[in-house]
């Protein structure tokens, strides 16, 4: 029984939160890594693209809710997601037409494009705040829990509860689906293959008749899909607030770089590595240890490796270590 309790505590406070947070990071890192791999610059506007996509989806969600449309027990936001993606993709294509295209034509250096994306980030930052405001917005409806801590205790008779939120379940499922579809697209379809070719060697790709503008457009659309999905899932799981998306940018980039920028598999692994290291290294193992060990060995202290203050130091320490020993990331992406 004690063993089961220990397992439940671990799942409730470490495994489930880390897996869902890791999935959110992975989706964000995939978008960053894709833009880096194909367009060859670090897109700092990605965090605010997530905020923009989530904002549009929220506006549609509110409209649907007003009309009484619902797909309970699933959140209405899922129904609004395709519309959010469409608007975000349109916004990204326009941004490319008005901003990035100019620099691409002039064969600007990547660092210039990075600075341009910084500018785009600030503009999106402002646009989102003007439209929906800087405050916190809630748009979550439908069932909140797949299983709540109280119900779990009643069901199993264990003294520890296990909570599994529907938003967490949804995050994990949607991440799995998007990753599967993305890999299928990149490896099996003609457009996907042409994107990979363009990423590997731009000149050769051009010579073999690949239309670069089409590759760029498709890349932006996929980035919009990933960003909006990640943004909405994050907003459903926690809450929508423009500033937190800006803050999300750092762990997302850490995940993408740890995995290897430009490598989609690395982005996913990086997301989970960052999430798990943040949660496990700062977790106080007292409760788990008390259940697992005989009474005489049970710890008096918290059995905490690092105080939670160091949570962010953990992910960046991993980033630094990876960059020192494997400069191209764990999964060999492009040089940073």
């Amino acid at each position: 029984m004690d063993f089961l309790n220990a397992l439940v505590v671990l799942a409730n406070f470490v495994l489930i939160p880390a897996v869902s947070y890791g999935s959110q990071l992975a989706l964000g890192a995939l978008g960053v890594t894709l833009v880096y791999g194909i367009l060859r610059f670090s897109n700092f506007a990605h965090g605010d693209t997530m905020a923009f996509g989530a904002m549009v989806t929220i506006l549609f969600t509110w409209a649907f809710q007003a009309f009484g449309l619902s797909i309970a027990p699933l959140p209405t936001a899922l129904l609004a997601l395709p519309f959010g993606i469409a608007v975000t993709a349109g916004m990204m294509l326009l941004t490319d037409r008005w901003v990035y295209q100019f620099y691409r034509r002039h064969k600007a250096k990547p660092i210039i494009l990075v600075m341009v994306s910084l500018g785009v980030m600030f503009i999106l930052n402002g646009v989102v705040r003007v439209i929906i405001g800087p405050g916190e917005q809630r748009f979550n409806d439908g069932a909140r829990f797949i299983i709540s801590a109280g119900d779990f205790k009643k069901m199993t008779g264990l003294s520890e509860g296990l909570a599994f939120r529907s938003s967490q379940g949804l995050t994990i499922v949607v991440t799995l689906i998007s990753v599967a579809v993305l890999f299928w697209f990149l490896n099996r379809t003609r457009t996907g293959k042409s994107m990979r070719a363009y990423s590997d060697n731009e000149d050769l790709a051009l010579l073999s008749g690949i239309n670069p503008e089409k590759v760029v457009r498709v890349t932006w659309i996929i980035a919009a899909i990933l960003a909006t999905t990640a943004g909405v899932l994050y907003g459903l799981d926690k809450a929508f607030k423009p500033f937190t998306y800006f803050q999300l940018l750092l762990p997302v980039f850490a995940a993408a770089i740890v995995g290897g920028l430009g490598n989609p598999l690395g982005a996913i692994a990086g997301g989970y590595i960052i999430a798990f290291s943040e949660v496990t290294l700062t977790y106080a193992w007292k409760k788990v240890a008390t259940y697992m060990l005989p009474d005489s060995l049970a710890p008096d202290g918290l059995a905490q490796l690092l105080s939670t203050d160091y949570k962010y130091a953990v992910s960046f320490t991993i980033l630094v270590i990876v960059l020192i020993f494997k400069p191209y990331g764990l999964f060999r992406g492009k040089a940073v």
Binding site: V9, N12, F13, V14, P17, A18, Y21, Q24, G135, E136, R138, F145, S148, A149, G150, G161, A163, R165, Y234, K238, A239, K241, F243, T244, Q247, L248, P251, A275, E278, V279, T282, Y283, A284, W285, K286, K287, V288, L302, Q304, S307, T308, D309, K311, Y312
Partner: protein, 392 residues
């Protein structure tokens, strides 16, 4: 000619003895991080001054002029220079200020004590100022943050909560409050199972909540902000079933908390500065449309200026070395209670040799080294609303 000079000198001396023009420094953070608050704080202090001037009752018809100085809130050198100028160049007889704890300490040590100048701060709340050397010159109208920690510990102990987990927002406010609470609570026999800081506006709080839950406790004390990291912590703690009830200090007692959690946090407790004294309401009436009377520290500023002038009246002198001993007397009982807008009445009672107990906008009651005891409103969440259970 000589006669004329003598005569005019004599009249000057005579008028100086009876009525004078007293300058009062208003040294607040007019630029810098709290510049938006400083507007109404300055207005509050100057309102008390003009009220006294209209009454004409201060020291046989003396008038008071406010001289503003900028304490910047963060730049101790600039604040010190501004205070220096107020005293040496403008010749002020007392200072309402400074506005932030750090610069207030600097001005007190570098300017006020060497010059023997009385300072009453309307907004410095750092516990460190309680024990600062002040030669009896420094007072403050808001309570020290240490006070809220004690009140918090009292509330929890009275409810029989003897072990809590504690999380605070990682800044001076959160850390100061958490430290003072932990000390007070442990002195009363309570146990703090874990003290974990959290950063505001971060993406994920599962690590923090995991650690807090593992340490356990009857209640989770969240010394944070309702619309920032604090609500993220509460959300994650509720969802994982780690804690059902919480204790909310002032930063969390807000509509944001109610809007986000409603009856999910029923049974939680909290406290925030506030009193059932009618002073706040009277203050709002007196202010009218001049500025926002509920603006933070506006009432404290009014009270700080009023106290200086009442102390002058009680001492019968505008000399800081003389009236500094009267500040405590006019602030505390016994005597007639003086509300905002009744400064004229207070001055008259003092002129006749009577006693007053200045209540003012914020129910001023000085303790210890001359700081406000602070009044706190104790609340509990019932049916998804904060209900007031009492004042302490």
């Amino acid at each position: 000619m000589k006669k004329l000079l003598l005569a005019s000198a004599a009249t000057l001396l005579a008028t100086a003895a009876t009525a004078e023009d007293i300058k009062l420094g208003v040294l607040l953070g007019f630029t810098g991080p709290i510049e938006s608050m400083a507007v109404n704080m300055g207005a509050g202090a100057e309102m008390a001054i003009s009220e006294v001037n209209e009454s004409g009752a201060l020291l046989d018809g003396s008038t008071v002029t406010a001289v503003r100085g900028d304490s910047t809130c963060i730049d101790a050198a600039a604040a010190t220079a501004a205070a220096e100028r107020l005293i040496t160049s403008d010749g002020v007889k007392g200072i309402v200020g400074a506005a932030c704890s750090g610069v207030t300490g600097a001005v007190l040590q570098n300017v006020a004590r060497p010059n023997g100048m009385v300072m009453i701060s309307p907004s410095a709340t750092s516990p460190a100022l309680t024990t600062a050397e002040d030669d009896g010159l420094f007072f403050r109208t808001p309570p020290s943050d240490a006070r809220q920690g004690e009140i918090m510990a009292e509330i929890l102990m009275e409810q029989g909560v003897e072990s809590v987990a504690l999380t605070y927002t990682n800044n001076d406010y959160g850390k100061g409050l958490a430290d003072s609470f932990q000390k007070a609570y442990e002195d009363m026999g309570g146990t703090v199972t874990i003290t974990a800081a959290h950063e505001d506006d971060k993406a994920d709080y599962s690590a923090e909540v995991g650690a807090l839950a593992s340490a356990g406790g009857d209640r989770l004390v969240v010394a944070g902000y309702a619309d920032r990291g604090g609500s993220g912590i509460v959300r994650a703690a509720l969802d994982t079933g780690a804690f059902d009830t919480f204790h909310f200090p002032d930063g969390m007692v807000s509509d944001g908390t109610i809007g986000s959690f409603g009856d999910e946090v029923d049974g939680s407790t909290g406290q925030l500065p506030g009193s059932d004294s009618p002073g706040a309401e009277t203050f709002a009436e007196v202010v009218g449309d001049a500025f926002d009377p509920t603006s933070i520290f506006a009432g404290e500023s009014y009270d700080a200026a009023a106290l200086i002038m009442l102390a002058m009246q009680a001492a019968g002198s505008s000399d800081p070395q003389v009236y500094k001993d009267k500040v405590m007397d006019v602030a505390n009982g016994p005597g007639e209670e003086i509300m905002p807008g009744e400064l004229a009445k207070g001055l008259e009672i003092l002129a006749e040799g009577g006693d007053i107990d200045y209540v003012g906008a914020t129910a001023v009651e000085f303790i210890g080294g001359g700081e406000s005891a602070g009044n706190f409103r104790e609340v509990v969440v019932e049916g998804g609303q904060f209900q007031t259970v009492g004042y302490r």
